[in-house]
Symmetry: C2
Subunit: 752 residues, 2 copies
Amino acid sequence: MRSHSSALSFPLLLRRRLLTTATHFHKPTAKMANVSDNSLRESLAEKISTIQTQGNVVRQLKASGAAKLEIETAVQALNALKLERSSIEAQIQAASGDSSASRDAFRQAVVNTLERRLFYIPSFKIYRGVAGLYDYGPPGCAVKSNVLAFWRQHFVLEENMLEVDCPCVTPEVVLKASGHVDKFTDLMVKDEKTGTCYRADHLLKDYCKEKLEKDLSMTAEKAADLKHVLAMLDDLTAEQLGAKIKEYGITAPDTKNPLSDPYPFNLMFQTSIGPSGISPGYMRPETAQGIFVNFKDLYYYNGNKLPFAAAQIGQAFRNEVIAPRQGLLRVREFTLAEIEHFVDPQDKSHPKFSEVANLEFLMFPRELQMSGQSAKKLQIGEAVSKGIVNNETLGYFIGRVYLFLTELGIDKQRLRFRQHLANEMAHYAADCWDAEIESSYGWIECVGIADRSAYDLRAHSDKSGVSLVAQEKYSEPREVEVTNNNTVNFTTLRFNTPVKYILDCGCKIVAALKLIVAPVKKELGLAFKGNQKIIVEALEAMDEKEAMEMKAALELKGEVEFLVCNLGKTVTIKKNMVSISKEKKKEHQRVFTPSVIEPSFGIGRIIYCLYEHSFYTRPSKTSDEQLNVFRFPPRVAPIKCTVFPLVQNEQYENVAKLISKSLTVAGVSHKIDITGTSIGKRYARTDELGVPFAITVDKTTSVTIRDRDSKNQVRVDVEKVASVVKEVTDGFKTWADILNEYEIHTSESADD
Amino acid sequence: MRSHSSALSFPLLLRRRLLTTATHFHKPTAKMANVSDNSLRESLAEKISTIQTQGNVVRQLKASGAAKLEIETAVQALNALKLERSSIEAQIQAASGDSSASRDAFRQAVVNTLERRLFYIPSFKIYRGVAGLYDYGPPGCAVKSNVLAFWRQHFVLEENMLEVDCPCVTPEVVLKASGHVDKFTDLMVKDEKTGTCYRADHLLKDYCKEKLEKDLSMTAEKAADLKHVLAMLDDLTAEQLGAKIKEYGITAPDTKNPLSDPYPFNLMFQTSIGPSGISPGYMRPETAQGIFVNFKDLYYYNGNKLPFAAAQIGQAFRNEVIAPRQGLLRVREFTLAEIEHFVDPQDKSHPKFSEVANLEFLMFPRELQMSGQSAKKLQIGEAVSKGIVNNETLGYFIGRVYLFLTELGIDKQRLRFRQHLANEMAHYAADCWDAEIESSYGWIECVGIADRSAYDLRAHSDKSGVSLVAQEKYSEPREVEVTNNNTVNFTTLRFNTPVKYILDCGCKIVAALKLIVAPVKKELGLAFKGNQKIIVEALEAMDEKEAMEMKAALELKGEVEFLVCNLGKTVTIKKNMVSISKEKKKEHQRVFTPSVIEPSFGIGRIIYCLYEHSFYTRPSKTSDEQLNVFRFPPRVAPIKCTVFPLVQNEQYENVAKLISKSLTVAGVSHKIDITGTSIGKRYARTDELGVPFAITVDKTTSVTIRDRDSKNQVRVDVEKVASVVKEVTDGFKTWADILNEYEIHTSESADD
């Protein structure tokens, strides 16, 4: 719970933006469990059909008396497919509604492997650690750096984005403008004796859940009340929360001591800039503000042209009240990668939309959620043309995010794009979609893609007094009425012209009509003689409303009764006595605040989900144990390849060192292992790190390359091996290409 | 000034480590100015000789009636060389002792270009900024990310380092152990009326300098006093600083108000972890501590083998009292890249040392500094073998740092390795060298390379109670005396054995001799009869010193007088009556705290120096103005190449777009510019961003590639152009190779 004000206010949007990286898990409903189950069952059906096909291939090869080698390879592939089938079956079991225990067991297996192999380490462990802080150990650090490199390639480079790098330390004024200083809070209660803090909503939730589960004697009425509280939890104010805690007699979980009233706790890490102690600052809770405050310079850098996107990768900080059970998913410091795509609000088309329009994936629009249905496959092109997704640019980014995640190795069947419900969005947001990935914790929000309209630029423009706008130059000047105008030049409006404006909720500018009232002195003189001057003054003194009424009446009836106070009487004004018109002016350009479309990536969450989606086990040949494997695609794998001399032998070791050198020159990260451990054990060790390829030195002129998942091997010349591995890890070739090009190697002794 | 205790204490080392990234500039002495001058003059001499050679080539070509094209190319190369000569001449002028004005002008030209092209931006500019915080704009961000990628390739990948990624938020206990909480301070004085803060040493320095420059009536005695203060500035205590400020009557510079006494201000940004306010934390002032606290896990990950290195790239924070004039060189938040290479203190050889041993570069050993000489060229192999550099591993890293910096584009002539003077190093440090780069600010410390011995691991071991040690297993057990032992197992020492130890300054462990005193009861009985028991007890009760004296006396004279208090008299003890020996035990392994060798890189400083070393100007062909160029090597350049249609024309634009696509596929960052601006202006615009290659579309089948610095052009087929640019930007080919392989293109209209 990030805010406690009315459903459509600003803080809700704030909350939504920030959810991307730390809080909020959708309660797994039966519906959602079904979706997941369905998608896994689909995967299983696909796998079973592939196994049948491969089975037929093997039978045909045998029947046609094919070469032994060819048959063996086909059998190996078949066995690999069967293992994958068992893995999916295990996942279905784990994911099924009733077996949260086996979900937990699956997660435990993943997390144990991750910790044991130092993918991550609780930070400052020798000092008993700090909840919510984690280190990436060597393989985790490599995975992270690969994910970020791919993000840069996929977004910054391919879309020509302007990348910036701003500090984490942020002065208060910036976060005051963005709303974080006032609204970025959780409601907290304190144990009145020990001072221990708890999140008020968590305590209430836990109480309700436990009651509903365990108190079987409860009346139906009472149960309905508790369910209602659970449903309303995110919308309760501090007072309402406090009242419920009192009503239910909830006490501190550890001590049973009474609790304080709920009060807001700001989630930013506060500090002080400079030695005087009078300049408060915060560690940024997101990277986006650094982009907004630089809009003017970036727009200029882009040749004063829209649209353009700026991007930033960096640390963000959130001082969670308590770091709960979700491990790597809820942390106090994390890496964000954010894009702010600035676009003309009148034209949100995207020139490259056609490149993604045919992509089809699981989408979960608002309407399906409201009517209790499940996510379904939609073409993004169709979703935009039907108005389900608000505009092309938003749709383009949804498509690009889909490509990014699936190319990283996220399972398509466990990825969906969920639209925000109306009450989840701020009033100014045009549309928001979250990329949610299913993990053992349920559906996790990993990327938020929001059309935030002009909100952020306006907020900073307002606070700083610096106009953050774009211009569209007209080829011909246009005559326009000065009238209601959302896109009027903000600075001009505020400082240079007499046009009235209203700042509505700090964000919406309404420029009222500007009217020109021009009394026709000659006619008035003819009609009213000596009173002419007083009447002229009275006409000119009309306010907008009066003038508009007179204009309407004159147009309708040709004349109107007009009370002149200074004369103490009413006179009849005719159409020819006054001209009332809207002001018109020639404009050479349109000045407007751009809209921003913001895809925001929680890198740590994506990586954790990737770990779960990549993990599987397969039986060992030599023992009863299950061997762990991460099936990372080469671009993600922490190390691309290992080099093993088959046996301890100086000649083989020298070849291994030679290969290692050529891999270094080719820029392929690798590990050389010249210990005498059995080759099977060495394979198992590196499978567990997700290393996709292993080079085994069993001759001095040629060596074998083994593929992690299929365990197929090919034989390649020593001189060529580095470039072959490079091609397949850089994605220029697939393993299937390699199998086609090189001699397939079968070995009795090889795999464990 | 980071510390104010005695010269050899811990904080000095702390200071030295941290200097890498924020403070401390060596006062430019005449000596140093000479060095710089000399090195530039050497560059100039080299350049002049190359120009002569190239001049001869041109003459010969003309004489031999060579092809027009060949002559033109040679002339172009000659002209490029001449421009470089003028640039060096300008730098000599700028660097010369008297022309600090032209140094400032050079810097201003660089900084103006950097700010105008958004290499960096003062952070939060629309809110009037925060001193000491900068954003990297698009080209700066790209340069930084290229520098870091090369750092990863050069160190992490090539040396198989274990990279980790730890949080910035750090609990107090960790920085208490490292000494930062108590010692990481600057001395500050406050304007007693306004509260404005100043660094005490800065005020004193400014006062002394101004006096010396401007007060010509000063006595020689007074001048000597001021010079002495300047020389001692870094070593003054708070009291001494305060006394001098009083003595000289120094007041607040802006208001002339009186100043407070100096008091220490901790330079870390403080915050609070969690909601209770009782867990203080800090934003890390360096990344190294995150590695030290993980030593145990990393050692295990490395198969319990030494040596190994861990590395970390990340943000570090320093709440400077005031952000002074050095712009990008002294900032409050910066990127560090640190390596901790753990090594057996008894074996600091390095297996790859021979790969760097022949490198020769400017070194500035302690002895040369003390005797007032200047830095000189030394072979690193020789420096190690002569003992100038303490050990091979330290020497290896010095060599690798040299390669890293020069391959980035740092001028060899303006790079030196300066050894710390004895009083700059902590007592436990074995040796320290700084890579210093000369800039318009003088010699800037950009990389520190220190052998920190076992200090850091011991400090954390001591504070956490967790042993951070390595083992060397013996193939055969060895019999060893339990004696003075720096490498004794720390945990065993503290918790399991009765061996005495002393913690000296919290870091040095001295295990005293353990003696076994074994009275020979039979002989004592024969000699002393009924007193035997009392004498046995007295012998066994001897303390270590007494026992050692008796042992020595017995070995020397065969007998000794021994006062037995309980008998009230002296007895004669003979050699056969007691055996005194050192305890021996069989050891199967040696347990020791590894030494750490730490290369620590201030990335922002390196990048700033790189900007200065890469910047030059050349005259425009069409106007009087000077055009700015950054001569970044391709790997550093923010954008590798631009694509320009020569004239606005749909056919050419389509070709340009096609080339842009193929560059994207090849992963070459580029920019396409289809504006109608003259080609010369477009070249000038991208020269100023340091873009090394420009592709100009002047036909539909083939295009030209222009090299930024020589302005030479070659003609290449459209299909081939992306791969040609990729080869040369990836470093697989040089521009000279390209000139050899492809048709040289001469154009009348081309360059501005």
